[in-house]
């Protein structure tokens, strides 16, 4: 049931987006704080989290290489 609700919300969001936002309407979307990626200065936090936690990936960053052994 929960999966269906999540799927419904996602589909709803996607279909809502069919009305494309024009470039001149993207003042808020283009705000630097609205970027859909980690901040440049966040990279070291991501690195230590990959070392200290088992999970990695799915954050748009590096997901391999290096031993992470200390």
């Amino acid at each position: 049931m929960a999966k269906k609700i999540i799927l419904g919300i996602l589909l709803g969001l996607i279909f809502q987006s069919c009305n494309a936002v024009k470039e001149y309407e993207k003042v808020a979307i283009n705000d630097p704080d609205m970027k859909l990626s980690a901040r440049t200065s966040e990279r070291y936090e991501t690195t230590f989290q990959v070392y200290r936690e088992a999970a990695a990936g799915a954050n748009g960053g590096k997901s391999g290489g290096g031993c992470g052994c200390n």
């Binding site: 969001l13 996607i14 809502q16 987006s17 494309a20 936002v21 024009k22 470039e23 309407e25 993207k26 003042v27 808020a28 979307i29 705000d31 630097p32 704080d33 609205m34 970027k35 859909l36 990626s37 901040r39 440049t40 200065s41 966040e42 990279r43 070291y44 936090e45 230590f48 989290q49 070392y51 200290r52 936690e53 088992a54 999970a55 990695a56 990936g57 799915a58 954050n59 748009g60 590096k62 997901s63 391999g64 290489g65 290096g66 031993c67 052994c69 200390n70």
Partner: protein, 469 residues
């Protein structure tokens, strides 16, 4: 007859005229097309206007009581200072070359206790020794080339990376494509990476000496659990590692969507496969079904597991052993909402699962507050939880009959809370200058990390962005 000749000549002339008209039309079409292309070139906005340089500096420290080097017990104290210089250069209107140079220097109680016996006769898992393995440095370089189409709706990139530290080096290659559509409101991206890594294995000192020089090679008296001198220490489970490569392959699919003038989200699906030596050769293991042996001062044996142990160290039964394959499946999503001119909401969630039976959830929230035209402060919070690997067991609870074993607490069950704040200063007019470079941005952030198994860490980062003028 003459009339016929005239008619034929007229027809020939007409055909010639038609050819000329067609040729002229084609020529004018080509010229027109070329002019259009030229005008496109003239008015095409460069992907990157000028050279940008990011200078980043980070300080990190941590402490805990479950050192994997000491078999899941002992100090995890570690200090790391890292710096990176990232230079992005426009090669032409469409292409950008980014070079990222990094160096990271650390000192660590854990790694120093690969050889704890050079601590003035007082080896202990609770303090750093003064061994050569106490400190090390990691150097890395990454070069990335990105090219955008004239419409800026298609971007491809390729990268290559190298990193090196004392006992480990890594070579990476990767590439990806991104396609924007729906008036640049939607984007789909594909990415692939391969890292070909190689260990230069270092083993715990007592195991290394046992393997090389035999049972009586350890310098100093060995004590049994009762504090009696003994010569029975014999870690027969230990064998050196013959295969030292670790290869990591990843593929990622991303989709992002502008939902409204103030709301957008992205989702990432990654698949990661690791093969080769996935354990760390200097992580000790103590078996529950094997006798204990110590070196140092025997009076500290009864309180070995307490921080009051100031002078005895337990000899390892083996090193951590883990399968040579691991399949990881993380799925992540970001949702950002522009509340108003003062507040933005940034959120992130990730579910992770792998075939070592680890599952985790990560959720983070950040609330940038624009306090003026130039300053933004952003409080942030991150929650993380994971279940333990099927190969993990705490200090001295593995059995020697098991095939795989680790006492690395990073693979155990725990929750973690991370909270902190950041300050961002932006000057779009780059008023402050150093040589030819104007200062565009300063980004500072501090975070405190607390794990439910008592590991604690602090990290501070400052970044400067300069733009060539």
């Amino acid at each position: 007859m003459v009339v016929n000749q005239v008619v034929v000549v007229d027809v020939i002339n007409m055909i010639k005229m038609k050819k000329i008209v067609i040729a002229l039309s084609l020529f004018s079409g080509i010229i027109s097309s070329a002019q259009e292309k030229d005008s496109t070139l003239v008015f095409k906005k460069r992907v990157l206007e000028s050279v940008e340089v990011d200078f980043l500096l980070s300080y990190y420290n941590q402490d805990g009581s479950k050192s994997a080097v000491s078999g899941g017990i002992g100090s995890e104290e570690l200090t790391d200072i890292a710096t990176n210089i990232v230079v992005a250069m426009p090669l032409n209107d469409d292409a950008v070359l980014t070079v990222d140079l990094g160096i990271s220097a650390y000192s660590s109680a854990s790694s120093s206790n690969i050889n704890p016996y050079d601590n003035g006769g007082k080896p202990t898992p609770w303090q750093a020794s003064s061994g050569a393995s106490q400190s090390d440095q990691l150097t890395s370089v990454t070069a990335n080339y990105a090219h955008s189409s004239d419409s800026r709706n298609f971007i491809w990139n390729a990268d290559v990376s190298f990193s090196n530290e004392y006992d480990y080096n890594s070579v990476g290659i990767g590439g990806g494509i991104a396609y924007l559509f729906n008036d640049k409101n939607s984007e789909i991206s594909l990415k692939g990476n391969a890292y070909l890594d190689k260990w230069n294995p270092i083993y715990p000192k007592e195991l290394n000496d046992y393997e090389k020089y035999g049972a009586n090679s350890i310098n100093g008296t060995i004590w049994d659990q009762n504090g009696q001198a003994t010569i029975n220490y014999s870690p027969t489970a230990f064998k050196t590692i013959s295969s030292v490569n670790r290869n990591s392959y990843s593929a990622s699919v991303g989709f992002s969507q502008v939902i409204s003038k103030k709301l957008q989200f992205s989702v990432f699906f990654d698949v990661l496969q690791q093969q080769g030596l996935l354990s760390t050769p200097y992580h000790r293991i103590y078996f529950a079904d094997k006798a204990n042996y110590y070196i140092g001062q025997a009076q500290y044996i009864p309180n070995y597991e307490s921080e009051s142990n100031a002078g005895v160290y337990k000899l390892a039964d083996d090193i951590e052993r883990l399968p040579d394959s691991r399949f990881k499946l993380p799925i992540g999503a970001r949702l950002n909402y522009y509340i108003n001119e003062r507040f933005v909401l940034r959120t992130y969630y990730r579910f992770y699962s792998d075939n070592w039976d680890i599952q985790s959830h990560t959720a983070s929230i950040e609330l940038p507050i624009k306090v003026s035209d130039r300053f933004t402060v952003f409080p942030m919070y991150r929650f993380y939880t994971q279940t333990q690997s099927k190969y993990y067991a705490p200090y001295e609870t593995h059995l020697s009959t098991e095939k795989y074993y680790t006492s690395d607490a990073d693979l155990s069950t725990f929750d973690a809370n991370q909270y902190g704040f950041g300050v961002n200063y932006t000057d779009i007019f780059t008023g402050a200058k150093i040589w030819k470079f104007g200062l565009k941005n300063i980004d500072f952030r501090f975070n405190r990390y607390q794990r439910s198994d008592n590991l604690e860490a602090n990290i501070a980062t400052i970044g400067f962005k300069f733009v060539m003028q």
